[in-house]
């Protein structure tokens, strides 16, 4: 699938800030499921620091903006060709040992209910188990936008029985780790307006490390594995750790945010 992405984030400040520092992971991963045609990141008024590929295989760029400035726009424009690999992350160069992703974080910490959910299913092998866990999480948390907040934990979302893709991913990560499978959070885009109505195209899912196959993506929110509608950006222990944008403004100003993400298919 050939996809065109436009992702624009506007930061407005009620008083001019002195400076802004950002760490951006907004470049698609390099793996068999996606090939980048062109990709442009720009930060209005910003200076690009050096970019580098980290141990997780993510491309990271540090940007800084000198103030005084009261509005900064981060724009990503890109063309990408995707291919369905049935969720398997193949040809992705990374050096981090999967065991590192057994670490629990506040957002993915297990509790009795998550343990019970994780042990409610059986799998013949790691892959089978991962599929079962993803289905279990899909069944346990209904997709209800607005029911949870960005800081809601896996345990809280499960107790509520409602959430969005972030909550499904956190819950699945907690369950997989409870069953001894390394798991991580993936941020990216999803081309989901196939029915013609626009959806929020920023998306997140989980990856679970299963034996010889390596990392495999699972989107518990949509009860599927990532296919050619998915664009993978980067990963981490949980949502805060995998955030595509981490930034900090200097100055006593209040920030307000406006995000537009648009993914569309280009017909040949």
């Amino acid at each position: 699938m050939k996809l065109k992405i436009l992702h624009e984030t506007s930061y407005s400040y009620d008083a001019p800030i002195e400076a802004l520092a950002q760490s951006l992971r907004l470049t698609p991963s390099v793996h068999e499921g996606q090939r980048v045609g062109e990709w442009r990141i720009s930060v209005s008024g910003g200076q690009r620091g050096a970019g580098f590929r980290d141990g997780a295989g993510d491309w990271v760029e540090g940007w800084t903006v000198r103030g005084p400035i009261d509005k900064v726009v981060v724009t990503i424009q890109g063309l990408i060709e995707t291919r369905d690999t049935a969720g398997v992350l193949r040809g992705h160069r990374e050096t981090i040992n999967p065991l590192v992703y057994m670490r629990s974080t506040p957002a993915t910490r297990s509790n009795d209910a998550l343990q019970a959910l994780a042990h409610s299913v059986k799998g013949e092998d790691g892959l089978d188990l991962a599929h079962e866990l993803s289905a279990a999480v899909h069944g346990a948390i209904a997709y209800v936008p607005g029911a949870t907040e960005v800081w809601t934990s896996a345990a809280e979302a499960l107790a509520l029985g409602q959430g969005v893709c972030q909550d499904h991913a956190h819950a699945l990560i907690a369950c997989a780790r409870a069953r001894g499978l390394p798991a991580r959070y993936v941020s990216g885009y999803l081309h989901s307006n196939l029915d013609g109505t626009p959806h929020d195209a920023a998306h997140a899912w989980a990856e679970i490390h299963v034996g010889t196959l390596g990392w495999v993506g699972f989107d518990a929110a949509n009860a599927c594995c990532p296919d050619d509608r998915y664009i993978r950006l980067g990963s981490g222990y949980d949502a805060p750790d995998a955030a595509p944008v981490r930034g900090m403004a200097f100055g006593p100003s209040r920030e307000s945010l406006d995000v537009r993400v648009h993914v569309e298919e280009i017909q040949q």
Partner: protein, 468 residues
């Protein structure tokens, strides 16, 4: 059963011969006067911080014992070789576990202990710091159990503190007893700050074209080791900065100065990993520099020690250091580890639980003498309570025999008496390895006590290495 560093039978050992005369000829009132003078000097300098992050009253003065601890040249050379060997192996280990992890592939250390270690830092994986050095100041805690027997109690690869005591203890001894230093050939330690500065400058990143600018990054004056931070900055002639004195611009780190921004090449940080950069670690950190890790990982600035260096020095990984020395250096360890039982191994667990009354049990991540059980000194109740803690989480504990720490002569109310001591030398790792002849000797001032922690009745001494 304890090795007495001063006496061999009834004979005074060579290193202590002149000190023995010195004490014998010192009038009692002179001793009291000098002790009061030393205390006044320490107060005036303001060196009242807690050693090794033990917490407690930051204004507490750590007792200073005027009786030096002495090593012969030959003893020290042997120690020096062992310390440098260990520092080399620890850095080789860090280089390895942040790249291919050969030692784990070879089955010489369990993967879990490294990759699931809380101190293992994913952000550093795949990055090789300048000269491949991760830990630039390695503090190794050593105890002596016999004339030729030295054991390593603990390694400190992050930001070991206490070196200012080494320097101040010497300074004060020289001021109070100049004749001692005229009449004996004692190797100097005051070159330490200059060697530290040179070591830090030697790991400047490739992007640094001119003479490297080195700074010390402190969490601020409320930190218990702030005195040491400012003391070292002063002696090295470098700036002491806090997080908000530094900023990132266009991929480099700058410090705010009255003459405008000045580029920074090497940061000797005395703040912990989670607080270094809110864009990479803890979001709520106010102590760090936003964007610092991106600059670091793209080769724009050096950080000493490297984030994640702590994975080499916890008490579980410690048990594998002799293995590291064999694996990376192809040598046999010159300094022995203390025999250690790891409670996640079934046999060890059984043995330890059956012998708690004879052992010392420590938390894997504990420090400063807290969270530990000293079996021979504990009551039945205390042992039972600790056994419950171990049962709940065996992975969190290691056990060691109670060590027969050597004694060194120490001033006490009745004169001079043997008291138990340990030693922390500081090995500097940059373009080469350097060790000043000396270190921080801690002494358990209470009779019979084996606990040298300043929070629990410990004091400090000047440490001498005699020239040939």
């Amino acid at each position: 059963m304890f090795y007495n560093e001063m006496f061999e039978g009834s004979e005074v050992r060579a290193p202590y011969a002149m000190l023995s005369d010195w004490v014998d000829t010192m009038p009692a009132d002179m001793r009291q006067m000098k002790q009061a003078e030393a205390e006044a000097l320490f107060r005036r300098i303001g060196i009242t911080f807690a050693v090794y992050g033990e917490g407690g009253d930051p204004d507490r003065l750590i007792p200073f014992d005027m009786m030096p601890r002495v090593f012969l040249q030959g003893e020290w050379r042997r120690l020096e070789r062992g310390i440098k060997q260990r520092a080399r192996a620890l850095n080789a280990f860090l280089r390895d576990v942040y790249s291919r992890g050969e030692i784990i592939r070879a089955g010489r250390i369990p993967a879990r202990l490294v990759y699931q270690n809380a101190a293992y830092e994913k952000a550093v994986v795949g990055f090789v710091p300048p000269r491949g050095v991760f830990s630039h100041i390695v503090g190794i805690d050593i105890v002596r159990t016999g004339r030729d027997d030295f054991h390593v109690l603990e390694d400190n690869c992050r930001t070991p503190s206490g070196v200012s005591y080494m320097l101040e203890n010497r300074e004060i001894m020289m001021r109070m007893f100049p004749a001692l230093f005229r009449n004996n050939r004692i190797e100097p330690v005051d070159q330490y700050p200059e060697i530290l500065r040179r070591t830090l400058a030697s790991v400047a990143p490739a992007k640094c074209a001119d003479e490297p600018t080195v700074v010390i990054l402190t969490p601020g004056h409320f930190n218990s080791a702030y005195y040491e931070h400012s003391f070292l900055a002063n002696l090295m002639g470098v700036e002491l900065v806090e997080g908000n004195d530094l900023f990132v611009d266009a991929g480099l780190v700058y410090m705010r100065t009255t003459e405008g921004p000045k580029r920074v090449d090497v940061i000797y940080r005395r703040i912990d990993d989670p607080f270094l950069d809110p864009l990479c670690f803890r979001k709520d950190s106010m102590l760090g520099v936003p964007g610092l890790m991106d600059v670091y990982r793209s080769g724009g600035v050096a950080i000493a020690s490297a984030p994640g260096a702590g994975v080499a020095d916890d008490k579980a990984v410690y048990t594998y250091v002799p293995e590291m020395i064999r694996f990376y250096l192809g040598e046999e360890p010159l300094l022995q580890n203390v025999p250690t039982w790891t409670l996640w191994k079934e046999d060890d667990y059984k043995y330890v639980m059956a012998n708690l009354a004879d052992l010392v049990v420590k938390e894997v991540h504990g420090s400063g003498g807290y969270g530990m059980l000293i079996g021979p000194k504990a009551s039945k109740d205390e042992i039972a309570r600790f056994a419950d803690l171990i049962r709940a989480n065996p992975d969190n504990y290691i056990a060691q025999p109670t060590l027969a720490l050597s004694t060194s002569p120490t001033f006490v109310a009745e004169g001079v008496a043997p008291r138990h001591v340990d030693l922390r030398p500081f090995c500097l790792c940059g373009d080469r390895l350097e060790l000043v002849p000396g270190g921080l000797t801690r002494v358990a001032l209470r009779e019979g006590s084996l606990v040298v922690n300043s929070s629990q009745g410990g004091g400090v001494k000047d440490t001498w290495v005699l020239s040939e």
